[in-house]
Protein backbone atom coordinates (compact mmCIF):
# COMPACT_ATOMS: atom_id res chain seq x y z
CA UNK A 1 0.00 0.00 0.00
CA UNK A 2 1.39 3.41 -0.94
CA UNK A 3 1.69 5.88 1.86
CA UNK A 4 -0.11 9.17 1.34
CA UNK A 5 -0.66 12.18 3.52
CA UNK A 6 -3.14 12.63 6.34
CA UNK A 7 -4.60 16.11 6.57
CA UNK A 8 -5.99 17.38 9.84
CA UNK A 9 -7.34 20.59 11.25
CA UNK A 10 -6.90 20.86 15.01
CA UNK A 11 -9.27 23.39 16.52
CA UNK A 12 -8.59 24.55 20.06
CA UNK A 13 -11.39 26.63 21.56
CA UNK A 14 -13.28 27.25 24.77
CA UNK A 15 -16.80 27.77 23.61
CA UNK A 16 -19.29 28.90 21.08
CA UNK A 17 -18.70 30.70 17.86
CA UNK A 18 -20.61 33.97 17.48
CA UNK A 19 -19.63 35.26 14.11
CA UNK A 20 -19.81 34.21 10.47
CA UNK A 21 -20.59 30.85 8.88
CA UNK A 22 -21.84 27.81 10.79
CA UNK A 23 -18.68 25.97 11.92
CA UNK A 24 -20.40 22.58 11.73
CA UNK A 25 -21.14 23.14 8.06
CA UNK A 26 -17.56 24.25 7.48
CA UNK A 27 -16.32 21.07 9.17
CA UNK A 28 -18.53 19.02 6.87
CA UNK A 29 -17.04 20.87 3.94
CA UNK A 30 -13.51 20.19 5.15
CA UNK A 31 -14.31 16.50 5.22
CA UNK A 32 -15.41 16.63 1.62
CA UNK A 33 -11.92 17.86 0.83
CA UNK A 34 -10.41 14.94 2.71
CA UNK A 35 -9.46 16.97 5.75
CA UNK A 36 -10.30 15.65 9.21
CA UNK A 37 -11.37 18.17 11.85
CA UNK A 38 -10.52 17.53 15.51
CA UNK A 39 -11.74 19.79 18.28
CA UNK A 40 -10.44 20.32 21.77
CA UNK A 41 -12.53 22.30 24.20
CA UNK A 42 -10.41 23.84 26.96
CA UNK A 43 -11.94 24.51 30.36
CA UNK A 44 -10.40 26.29 33.28
CA UNK A 45 -12.55 26.50 36.38
CA UNK A 46 -15.49 27.55 34.28
CA UNK A 47 -17.63 24.97 32.57
CA UNK A 48 -18.37 25.19 28.89
CA UNK A 49 -22.10 25.67 28.39
CA UNK A 50 -24.20 22.99 26.80
CA UNK A 51 -24.46 24.84 23.53
CA UNK A 52 -20.68 25.08 23.35
CA UNK A 53 -20.30 21.36 24.01
CA UNK A 54 -22.87 20.57 21.34
CA UNK A 55 -21.03 22.71 18.82
CA UNK A 56 -17.65 21.14 19.65
CA UNK A 57 -19.02 17.63 19.26
CA UNK A 58 -20.90 18.61 16.12
CA UNK A 59 -17.80 20.01 14.44
CA UNK A 60 -15.78 16.87 15.15
CA UNK A 61 -18.58 14.53 14.09
CA UNK A 62 -19.13 16.33 10.80
CA UNK A 63 -15.40 16.73 10.30
CA UNK A 64 -14.80 13.00 10.76
CA UNK A 65 -12.52 13.65 13.69
CA UNK A 66 -12.27 13.34 17.43
CA UNK A 67 -13.44 15.80 20.07
CA UNK A 68 -12.48 16.12 23.68
CA UNK A 69 -13.31 18.59 26.40
CA UNK A 70 -10.59 18.94 29.01
CA UNK A 71 -9.29 21.06 31.84
CA UNK A 72 -6.28 23.05 30.71
CA UNK A 73 -4.00 21.15 33.12
CA UNK A 74 -4.24 17.99 31.02
CA UNK A 75 -4.18 19.72 27.68
CA UNK A 76 -0.76 18.48 26.57
CA UNK A 77 -1.61 14.83 26.88
CA UNK A 78 -4.99 15.34 25.26
CA UNK A 79 -3.76 17.22 22.22
CA UNK A 80 -1.30 14.54 21.20
CA UNK A 81 -3.74 11.74 22.02
CA UNK A 82 -6.57 13.28 19.99
CA UNK A 83 -4.28 13.83 17.01
CA UNK A 84 -3.01 10.28 17.07
CA UNK A 85 -6.45 8.82 17.65
CA UNK A 86 -7.79 10.71 14.66
CA UNK A 87 -4.90 9.45 12.55
CA UNK A 88 -5.69 5.87 13.48
CA UNK A 89 -9.35 6.48 12.73
CA UNK A 90 -8.53 7.83 9.27
CA UNK A 91 -6.20 4.95 8.50
CA UNK A 92 -8.75 2.43 9.67
CA UNK A 93 -11.22 4.05 7.32
CA UNK A 94 -8.77 3.47 4.51
CA UNK A 95 -8.16 -0.13 5.54
CA UNK A 96 -11.89 -0.84 5.84
CA UNK A 97 -12.36 0.53 2.35
CA UNK A 98 -9.70 -1.84 1.05
CA UNK A 99 -11.27 -4.74 2.92
CA UNK A 100 -14.64 -4.02 1.36
CA UNK A 101 -13.06 -4.06 -2.06
CA UNK A 102 -11.51 -7.44 -1.39
CA UNK A 103 -14.13 -9.17 0.75
CA UNK A 104 -17.39 -7.49 -0.24
CA UNK A 105 -19.62 -4.83 1.22
CA UNK A 106 -20.13 -6.29 4.67
CA UNK A 107 -16.46 -6.55 5.51
CA UNK A 108 -14.87 -4.32 8.10
CA UNK A 109 -12.13 -4.68 10.65
CA UNK A 110 -14.69 -5.36 13.38
CA UNK A 111 -16.26 -8.25 11.51
CA UNK A 112 -13.04 -10.14 11.02
CA UNK A 113 -12.18 -12.96 13.41
CA UNK A 114 -9.81 -11.73 16.18
CA UNK A 115 -6.79 -13.51 14.70
CA UNK A 116 -7.10 -11.83 11.28
CA UNK A 117 -7.91 -8.54 12.93
CA UNK A 118 -4.51 -8.61 14.63
CA UNK A 119 -2.73 -8.95 11.33
CA UNK A 120 -4.66 -6.13 9.70
CA UNK A 121 -4.05 -3.89 12.69
CA UNK A 122 -0.34 -4.39 12.34
CA UNK A 123 -0.65 -2.83 8.91
CA UNK A 124 -2.56 0.11 10.42
CA UNK A 125 0.13 0.51 13.08
CA UNK A 126 2.82 0.49 10.45
CA UNK A 127 0.99 3.15 8.43
CA UNK A 128 0.45 5.22 11.54
CA UNK A 129 4.16 5.31 12.02
CA UNK A 130 5.21 6.07 8.49
CA UNK A 131 2.43 8.15 6.94
CA UNK A 132 3.04 11.85 6.31
CA UNK A 133 0.91 14.19 8.38
CA UNK A 134 -0.19 17.76 7.90
CA UNK A 135 -1.81 19.50 10.85
CA UNK A 136 -3.26 22.96 10.59
CA UNK A 137 -3.78 24.29 14.10
CA UNK A 138 -6.55 26.81 14.70
CA UNK A 139 -6.39 28.51 18.07
CA UNK A 140 -9.28 30.50 19.46
CA UNK A 141 -7.78 33.70 20.91
CA UNK A 142 -10.97 35.40 22.04
CA UNK A 143 -10.79 37.20 25.39
CA UNK A 144 -11.77 34.21 27.56
CA UNK A 145 -8.89 32.17 26.13
CA UNK A 146 -6.25 34.69 27.15
CA UNK A 147 -4.94 33.04 30.31
CA UNK A 148 -5.13 29.57 28.74
CA UNK A 149 -2.77 30.45 25.90
CA UNK A 150 0.49 29.59 27.72
CA UNK A 151 -0.92 26.10 28.32
CA UNK A 152 -1.97 25.85 24.69
CA UNK A 153 1.53 26.75 23.60
CA UNK A 154 3.01 24.09 25.84
CA UNK A 155 0.55 21.53 24.51
CA UNK A 156 1.51 22.33 20.93
CA UNK A 157 5.21 21.95 21.65
CA UNK A 158 4.37 18.63 23.25
CA UNK A 159 2.41 17.62 20.16
CA UNK A 160 5.40 18.36 17.99
CA UNK A 161 7.57 16.25 20.30
CA UNK A 162 5.19 13.30 20.04
CA UNK A 163 4.69 13.44 16.31
CA UNK A 164 8.33 14.02 15.49
CA UNK A 165 9.15 10.74 17.21
CA UNK A 166 7.38 9.02 14.30
CA UNK A 167 9.19 7.91 11.18
CA UNK A 168 6.85 9.78 8.82
CA UNK A 169 7.13 13.47 7.96
CA UNK A 170 5.10 16.15 9.71
CA UNK A 171 4.07 19.60 8.61
CA UNK A 172 2.43 22.07 10.96
CA UNK A 173 0.95 25.47 10.47
CA UNK A 174 -0.76 27.74 12.94
CA UNK A 175 -3.66 30.16 12.60
CA UNK A 176 -5.40 32.21 15.26
CA UNK A 177 -8.89 33.63 15.20
CA UNK A 178 -9.84 36.39 15.56
CA UNK A 179 -6.66 37.85 14.11
CA UNK A 180 -5.39 41.38 13.91
CA UNK A 181 -7.91 43.27 11.78
CA UNK A 182 -8.95 40.02 10.10
CA UNK A 183 -11.17 37.19 11.21
CA UNK A 184 -8.26 34.81 10.87
CA UNK A 185 -4.54 35.38 10.97
CA UNK A 186 -1.71 33.09 9.94
CA UNK A 187 1.01 32.94 12.55
CA UNK A 188 3.13 30.14 11.19
CA UNK A 189 3.52 28.79 7.67
CA UNK A 190 4.01 25.06 7.00
CA UNK A 191 6.99 23.89 9.00
CA UNK A 192 8.16 20.48 10.19
CA UNK A 193 8.98 21.83 13.64
CA UNK A 194 6.63 23.62 15.95
CA UNK A 195 9.51 24.83 18.09
CA UNK A 196 9.54 28.07 16.11
CA UNK A 197 6.26 28.77 17.88
CA UNK A 198 7.96 30.10 20.99
CA UNK A 199 8.49 33.51 19.50
CA UNK A 200 5.33 33.61 17.44
CA UNK A 201 2.88 33.07 20.27
CA UNK A 202 4.08 36.10 22.19
CA UNK A 203 2.36 38.32 19.66
CA UNK A 204 -1.15 37.19 20.53
CA UNK A 205 -3.76 39.81 21.11
CA UNK A 206 -6.97 38.31 22.48
CA UNK A 207 -10.20 40.05 21.50
CA UNK A 208 -13.94 39.43 21.86
CA UNK A 209 -15.26 37.87 18.66
CA UNK A 210 -15.19 34.11 18.00
CA UNK A 211 -15.43 33.50 14.23
CA UNK A 212 -14.96 29.70 14.30
CA UNK A 213 -16.74 29.09 10.99
CA UNK A 214 -14.70 31.61 8.97
CA UNK A 215 -11.54 30.25 10.57
CA UNK A 216 -12.34 26.72 9.40
CA UNK A 217 -13.12 28.01 5.94
CA UNK A 218 -9.79 29.79 5.77
CA UNK A 219 -8.06 26.61 6.90
CA UNK A 220 -9.61 24.63 4.05
CA UNK A 221 -8.51 27.29 1.56
CA UNK A 222 -5.01 27.18 2.93
CA UNK A 223 -4.84 23.41 2.57
CA UNK A 224 -6.08 23.66 -1.01
CA UNK A 225 -3.47 26.28 -1.88
CA UNK A 226 -0.69 24.17 -0.48
CA UNK A 227 -1.74 21.21 -2.48
CA UNK A 228 -2.29 23.03 -5.73
CA UNK A 229 1.20 24.52 -5.50
CA UNK A 230 2.64 21.17 -4.68
CA UNK A 231 0.68 19.60 -7.51
CA UNK A 232 2.66 21.64 -9.99
CA UNK A 233 5.95 20.80 -8.38
CA UNK A 234 5.52 17.07 -8.14
CA UNK A 235 2.89 14.49 -8.86
CA UNK A 236 2.16 13.35 -5.34
CA UNK A 237 -0.47 10.83 -4.40
CA UNK A 238 -1.83 13.17 -1.79
CA UNK A 239 -5.35 12.67 -3.02
CA UNK A 240 -5.22 9.02 -2.07
CA UNK A 241 -6.85 9.38 1.33
CA UNK A 242 -9.41 11.84 0.13
CA UNK A 243 -10.86 9.31 -2.22
CA UNK A 244 -10.85 6.45 0.16
CA UNK A 245 -12.56 8.03 3.14
Amino acid sequence: MKTGTIKQILLITDGCSNHGEDPVAMAALAREFGITVNVIGVMENDIIDEQGVREIEGIARQGGGVSQIVYSQVLSQTVQMVTRKAMTQTLQGVVNQELRQILGNQASLENLPPEKRGEVLEVVDELNETVDLEVLILVDTSASMKHKLPTVKEALLDLSLSLNARMGNNQFSLFIFPGKGNEVEKLLDWTPKLESLTTVFAKLNPSGMTPTGPALKEAITYFKEKHSVRGYLSRHDDEFYEESI
Binding site: E110, P114, G118, L121, V124, A165, R166
Partner: protein
Protein backbone atom coordinates in the same frame (compact mmCIF):
# COMPACT_ATOMS: atom_id res chain seq x y z
CA UNK B 1 -10.78 14.48 33.85
CA UNK B 2 -11.74 13.74 30.29
CA UNK B 3 -15.40 14.25 29.81
CA UNK B 4 -15.95 12.54 26.56
CA UNK B 5 -16.53 9.16 25.03
CA UNK B 6 -12.99 7.93 25.61
CA UNK B 7 -13.88 6.53 29.02
CA UNK B 8 -15.46 3.12 28.82
CA UNK B 9 -19.17 3.52 29.18
CA UNK B 10 -20.14 0.15 30.58
CA UNK B 11 -20.32 -1.26 34.03
CA UNK B 12 -21.04 -4.97 34.43
CA UNK B 13 -22.32 -6.42 37.68
CA UNK B 14 -20.80 -9.54 39.20
CA UNK B 15 -22.50 -12.62 37.85
CA UNK B 16 -22.70 -11.23 34.33
CA UNK B 17 -21.78 -13.87 31.80
CA UNK B 18 -19.52 -12.92 28.93
CA UNK B 19 -19.76 -15.34 26.05
CA UNK B 20 -17.42 -15.24 23.08
CA UNK B 21 -18.86 -15.02 19.58
CA UNK B 22 -16.03 -16.89 17.89
CA UNK B 23 -14.67 -19.35 20.44
CA UNK B 24 -17.83 -19.73 22.56
CA UNK B 25 -16.09 -19.68 25.93
CA UNK B 26 -18.18 -18.50 28.91
CA UNK B 27 -16.78 -16.27 31.62
CA UNK B 28 -18.60 -15.21 34.78
CA UNK B 29 -17.63 -11.80 36.13
CA UNK B 30 -16.61 -11.81 39.80
CA UNK B 31 -15.61 -8.19 40.33
CA UNK B 32 -13.93 -5.20 38.74
CA UNK B 33 -10.13 -5.06 39.07
CA UNK B 34 -9.48 -1.68 37.53
CA UNK B 35 -10.41 0.73 34.81
CA UNK B 36 -8.42 3.00 32.58
CA UNK B 37 -8.87 5.20 29.56
CA UNK B 38 -8.94 2.20 27.25
CA UNK B 39 -11.15 -0.30 29.02
CA UNK B 40 -12.04 -2.15 32.17
CA UNK B 41 -10.40 -5.23 33.65
CA UNK B 42 -12.60 -7.74 35.46
CA UNK B 43 -11.78 -10.74 37.58
CA UNK B 44 -13.78 -13.63 36.19
CA UNK B 45 -14.38 -17.31 36.62
CA UNK B 46 -13.69 -19.67 33.76
CA UNK B 47 -14.54 -23.30 34.57
CA UNK B 48 -13.44 -22.78 38.16
CA UNK B 49 -10.27 -20.98 37.22
CA UNK B 50 -9.71 -17.32 38.03
CA UNK B 51 -8.85 -15.19 35.01
CA UNK B 52 -8.63 -11.50 34.22
CA UNK B 53 -10.70 -10.12 31.34
CA UNK B 54 -10.14 -6.81 29.67
CA UNK B 55 -13.21 -5.46 27.88
CA UNK B 56 -13.36 -2.39 25.69
CA UNK B 57 -15.76 -0.82 23.24
CA UNK B 58 -12.70 -0.04 21.16
CA UNK B 59 -11.69 -3.20 19.33
CA UNK B 60 -8.47 -1.56 18.13
CA UNK B 61 -7.15 -1.22 21.67
CA UNK B 62 -7.94 -4.83 22.38
CA UNK B 63 -6.38 -6.06 19.16
CA UNK B 64 -3.16 -4.11 19.53
CA UNK B 65 -2.72 -5.21 23.14
CA UNK B 66 -3.34 -8.78 22.09
CA UNK B 67 -0.66 -8.39 19.42
CA UNK B 68 1.82 -7.37 22.09
CA UNK B 69 0.84 -10.16 24.48
CA UNK B 70 1.11 -12.69 21.67
CA UNK B 71 4.62 -11.63 20.80
CA UNK B 72 5.52 -11.98 24.48
CA UNK B 73 4.29 -15.53 24.39
CA UNK B 74 6.45 -16.18 21.38
CA UNK B 75 9.43 -14.92 23.34
CA UNK B 76 8.62 -17.40 26.05
CA UNK B 77 10.16 -18.19 29.36
CA UNK B 78 10.21 -14.83 31.03
CA UNK B 79 7.04 -13.62 32.67
CA UNK B 80 6.87 -10.14 31.19
CA UNK B 81 3.19 -9.52 30.94
CA UNK B 82 0.34 -11.77 31.92
CA UNK B 83 -0.05 -14.78 29.62
CA UNK B 84 -2.84 -14.62 27.09
CA UNK B 85 -5.64 -17.21 27.04
CA UNK B 86 -8.35 -16.05 24.67
CA UNK B 87 -9.46 -13.20 22.40
CA UNK B 88 -13.04 -12.78 21.34
CA UNK B 89 -16.05 -10.54 20.80
CA UNK B 90 -19.19 -10.51 22.91
CA UNK B 91 -22.53 -9.42 21.52
CA UNK B 92 -24.21 -7.52 24.34
CA UNK B 93 -27.54 -5.77 23.79
CA UNK B 94 -26.89 -5.73 20.07
CA UNK B 95 -23.49 -4.09 20.20
CA UNK B 96 -20.14 -5.77 19.89
CA UNK B 97 -17.72 -5.60 22.80
CA UNK B 98 -14.18 -6.85 22.30
CA UNK B 99 -12.31 -8.58 25.08
CA UNK B 100 -9.29 -10.67 25.83
CA UNK B 101 -8.67 -13.11 28.63
CA UNK B 102 -5.38 -13.34 30.48
CA UNK B 103 -3.73 -14.82 33.50
CA UNK B 104 -4.97 -13.31 36.77
CA UNK B 105 -2.01 -11.94 38.70
CA UNK B 106 -2.83 -11.48 42.37
CA UNK B 107 -0.67 -8.85 44.00
CA UNK B 108 -0.31 -5.36 45.37
CA UNK B 109 0.73 -2.38 43.35
CA UNK B 110 4.33 -1.28 43.77
CA UNK B 111 3.70 1.85 45.87
CA UNK B 112 1.49 0.03 48.37
CA UNK B 113 3.89 -2.88 48.58
CA UNK B 114 6.85 -0.64 49.45
CA UNK B 115 4.73 1.26 51.94
CA UNK B 116 3.76 -1.97 53.70
CA UNK B 117 7.04 -3.83 53.50
CA UNK B 118 9.66 -1.12 53.59
CA UNK B 119 12.27 0.27 51.22
CA UNK B 120 14.55 -2.73 51.78
CA UNK B 121 12.57 -4.22 48.93
CA UNK B 122 13.27 -1.32 46.61
CA UNK B 123 16.58 -2.49 45.10
CA UNK B 124 15.26 -6.07 44.86
CA UNK B 125 12.15 -5.10 42.92
CA UNK B 126 13.88 -2.54 40.72
CA UNK B 127 16.55 -5.10 39.91
CA UNK B 128 13.86 -7.64 38.99
CA UNK B 129 12.17 -5.03 36.85
CA UNK B 130 15.42 -4.23 35.05
CA UNK B 131 15.95 -7.92 34.33
CA UNK B 132 12.52 -8.13 32.70
CA UNK B 133 13.01 -4.89 30.81
CA UNK B 134 16.33 -6.07 29.47
CA UNK B 135 14.62 -9.13 28.06
CA UNK B 136 11.85 -7.02 26.58
CA UNK B 137 14.36 -4.65 24.98
CA UNK B 138 16.43 -7.49 23.55
CA UNK B 139 13.28 -8.68 21.82
CA UNK B 140 12.80 -5.35 20.09
CA UNK B 141 10.17 -3.76 22.35
CA UNK B 142 9.92 -0.85 24.72
CA UNK B 143 7.37 -0.95 27.54
CA UNK B 144 6.40 2.71 27.17
CA UNK B 145 3.86 3.48 29.88
CA UNK B 146 5.95 2.30 32.81
CA UNK B 147 4.54 3.47 36.16
CA UNK B 148 3.81 1.99 39.61
CA UNK B 149 0.12 1.44 38.74
CA UNK B 150 1.18 -0.87 35.93
CA UNK B 151 3.44 -2.90 38.19
CA UNK B 152 2.14 -5.55 40.56
CA UNK B 153 4.13 -7.34 43.22
CA UNK B 154 3.12 -10.94 43.84
CA UNK B 155 3.44 -12.47 47.32
CA UNK B 156 5.30 -15.71 47.29
CA UNK B 157 7.72 -15.53 45.74
CA UNK B 158 7.91 -11.75 45.80
CA UNK B 159 8.18 -10.82 42.14
CA UNK B 160 7.41 -7.69 40.20
CA UNK B 161 5.13 -8.09 37.18
CA UNK B 162 4.07 -5.71 34.44
CA UNK B 163 0.33 -5.82 33.93
CA UNK B 164 -0.74 -3.22 31.39
CA UNK B 165 0.93 -3.67 28.03
CA UNK B 166 -1.14 -0.96 26.32
CA UNK B 167 1.87 1.30 25.88
CA UNK B 168 4.30 -1.34 24.65
CA UNK B 169 5.84 -0.11 21.42
CA UNK B 170 8.20 -1.58 18.85
CA UNK B 171 11.64 0.00 19.10
CA UNK B 172 12.24 2.90 16.76
CA UNK B 173 8.58 3.92 16.64
CA UNK B 174 6.84 6.70 18.52
CA UNK B 175 5.76 5.80 22.07
CA UNK B 176 2.10 4.79 21.99
CA UNK B 177 0.98 5.69 25.48
CA UNK B 178 2.65 7.46 28.37
CA UNK B 179 2.04 9.22 31.66
CA UNK B 180 3.55 12.67 31.98
CA UNK B 181 5.42 12.20 35.26
CA UNK B 182 7.28 9.20 33.82
CA UNK B 183 7.75 10.62 30.33
CA UNK B 184 11.15 12.08 29.50
CA UNK B 185 9.57 14.27 26.85
CA UNK B 186 7.48 16.01 29.49
CA UNK B 187 10.60 16.80 31.51
CA UNK B 188 12.41 18.05 28.44
CA UNK B 189 14.97 15.27 28.71
CA UNK B 190 14.59 13.43 25.46
CA UNK B 191 12.38 12.34 22.59
CA UNK B 192 9.33 10.10 22.56
CA UNK B 193 10.98 7.58 20.30
CA UNK B 194 10.79 4.06 21.67
CA UNK B 195 14.28 3.07 22.77
CA UNK B 196 15.55 1.28 25.90
CA UNK B 197 16.66 4.55 27.52
CA UNK B 198 13.03 5.72 27.43
CA UNK B 199 12.04 2.92 29.82
CA UNK B 200 15.11 3.41 32.00
CA UNK B 201 14.16 7.05 32.48
CA UNK B 202 10.77 5.88 33.70
CA UNK B 203 12.45 3.42 36.10
CA UNK B 204 14.35 6.32 37.67
CA UNK B 205 11.09 8.25 37.97
CA UNK B 206 9.44 5.24 39.62
CA UNK B 207 12.16 5.25 42.27
CA UNK B 208 11.57 8.97 42.80
CA UNK B 209 7.81 8.40 42.92
CA UNK B 210 8.29 5.94 45.78
CA UNK B 211 9.51 8.83 47.94
CA UNK B 212 7.10 11.38 46.48
CA UNK B 213 3.85 9.41 46.40
CA UNK B 214 1.88 12.47 45.33
CA UNK B 215 4.25 13.18 42.43
CA UNK B 216 4.83 16.77 41.34
CA UNK B 217 4.50 18.96 38.30
CA UNK B 218 7.25 20.46 36.23
CA UNK B 219 8.36 23.98 37.09
CA UNK B 220 11.17 25.51 35.11
CA UNK B 221 14.14 23.38 34.08
CA UNK B 222 13.20 19.73 34.42
CA UNK B 223 16.57 18.25 35.30
CA UNK B 224 17.34 20.82 38.01
CA UNK B 225 14.02 20.16 39.66
CA UNK B 226 14.56 16.39 39.61
CA UNK B 227 18.10 16.73 40.95
CA UNK B 228 16.77 18.74 43.86
CA UNK B 229 14.00 16.23 44.50
CA UNK B 230 16.64 13.48 44.79
CA UNK B 231 18.91 15.62 46.95
CA UNK B 232 16.12 16.41 49.40
CA UNK B 233 15.45 12.83 50.47
CA UNK B 234 18.17 10.97 52.32
CA UNK B 235 17.21 7.52 51.08
CA UNK B 236 17.01 8.73 47.51
CA UNK B 237 20.47 10.27 47.69
CA UNK B 238 22.04 6.83 47.95
CA UNK B 239 20.70 6.00 44.47
CA UNK B 240 21.71 9.38 43.07
CA UNK B 241 24.43 8.18 40.64
CA UNK B 242 22.22 5.69 38.84
CA UNK B 243 19.16 7.92 38.93
CA UNK B 244 20.99 10.83 37.34
CA UNK B 245 22.53 8.58 34.72
CA UNK B 246 19.15 7.10 33.84
CA UNK B 247 17.51 10.52 33.74
CA UNK B 248 20.20 11.71 31.35
CA UNK B 249 19.64 8.68 29.11
CA UNK B 250 23.21 7.49 29.54
CA UNK B 251 22.47 3.81 30.06
CA UNK B 252 22.62 1.75 26.92
CA UNK B 253 20.92 -1.26 28.48
CA UNK B 254 18.84 -2.27 31.48
CA UNK B 255 21.53 -4.74 32.50
CA UNK B 256 24.06 -1.96 32.77
CA UNK B 257 21.75 -0.02 35.08
CA UNK B 258 21.02 -3.14 37.10
CA UNK B 259 24.72 -3.84 37.64
CA UNK B 260 25.34 -0.32 38.87
CA UNK B 261 22.28 -0.45 41.11
CA UNK B 262 23.51 -3.62 42.78
CA UNK B 263 26.97 -2.09 43.24
CA UNK B 264 25.42 0.74 45.23
CA UNK B 265 24.08 -1.59 47.89
CA UNK B 266 26.35 -1.75 50.90
CA UNK B 267 26.71 -5.13 52.49
CA UNK B 268 27.94 -5.01 56.03
CA UNK B 269 30.88 -7.35 56.69
CA UNK B 270 30.20 -10.66 58.48
CA UNK B 271 31.69 -9.22 61.60
CA UNK B 272 29.45 -6.21 61.30
CA UNK B 273 26.25 -8.15 60.85
CA UNK B 274 26.22 -9.36 64.44
CA UNK B 275 26.25 -5.82 65.75
CA UNK B 276 22.82 -4.63 66.78
CA UNK B 277 20.96 -2.18 64.59
CA UNK B 278 20.86 0.62 67.11
CA UNK B 279 24.59 1.10 67.07
CA UNK B 280 25.54 4.71 66.46
CA UNK B 281 26.72 5.96 63.14
CA UNK B 282 30.04 6.96 64.60
CA UNK B 283 30.82 3.42 65.61
CA UNK B 284 29.81 2.15 62.21
CA UNK B 285 32.06 4.60 60.51
CA UNK B 286 34.91 3.65 62.80
CA UNK B 287 34.40 0.01 61.95
CA UNK B 288 34.36 0.52 58.24
CA UNK B 289 37.52 2.55 58.65
CA UNK B 290 39.08 -0.35 60.52
CA UNK B 291 38.32 -2.85 57.81
CA UNK B 292 39.64 -0.48 55.21
CA UNK B 293 43.04 -0.10 56.96
CA UNK B 294 43.29 -3.83 57.46
CA UNK B 295 42.77 -4.38 53.80
CA UNK B 296 45.44 -1.78 53.03
CA UNK B 297 47.95 -3.57 55.24
CA UNK B 298 47.23 -6.84 53.48
CA UNK B 299 47.78 -5.11 50.18
CA UNK B 300 51.16 -3.82 51.42
CA UNK B 301 52.24 -7.30 52.48
CA UNK B 302 51.34 -8.56 49.03
CA UNK B 303 53.49 -5.82 47.51
CA UNK B 304 56.57 -6.74 49.52
CA UNK B 305 56.22 -10.41 48.69
CA UNK B 306 55.94 -9.60 45.04
CA UNK B 307 59.11 -7.48 45.08
CA UNK B 308 61.12 -10.18 46.83
CA UNK B 309 59.94 -12.74 44.32
CA UNK B 310 60.87 -10.59 41.33
CA UNK B 311 64.32 -9.78 42.75
CA UNK B 312 64.89 -13.48 43.42
CA UNK B 313 63.96 -14.44 39.86
CA UNK B 314 66.19 -11.76 38.37
CA UNK B 315 69.05 -12.95 40.62
CA UNK B 316 68.60 -16.52 39.49
CA UNK B 317 68.53 -15.56 35.81
CA UNK B 318 71.64 -13.43 36.29
CA UNK B 319 73.36 -16.28 38.09
CA UNK B 320 72.54 -18.63 35.24
CA UNK B 321 73.86 -16.07 32.74
CA UNK B 322 77.13 -15.57 34.66
CA UNK B 323 77.44 -19.32 35.04
CA UNK B 324 77.10 -19.79 31.27
CA UNK B 325 79.67 -17.02 30.57
CA UNK B 326 82.17 -18.66 32.82
CA UNK B 327 81.68 -22.04 31.21
Amino acid sequence: MMMNSMKSPFNFASGTIIQGKWHHNRYTIIRELGRGANGIVYLADWNGKKVAIKVSDNHVTITSEVNVLKSFTKAQGVSLGPSLFDVDDWIHNGSQISFYVMEYIAGTDLLTFIKQNGTTWLPVLISQLLTDLDYLHKNGWVFGDLKPENLLVTKSPVKIRCIDVGGTTMQGRAIKEFTEFFDRGYWGLGSRRAEPSYDLFAVAMIVINLFYPKRFQKHGVGIEQLKKAIQDVKELRQYRPILLKALAGKYSSATEMKKELLKLIHFPSAHHQTTPKYQTNKNQRAQTNNTRTRRKKQKNKHGILETILIVAIVCIIYAVYIFEQIM
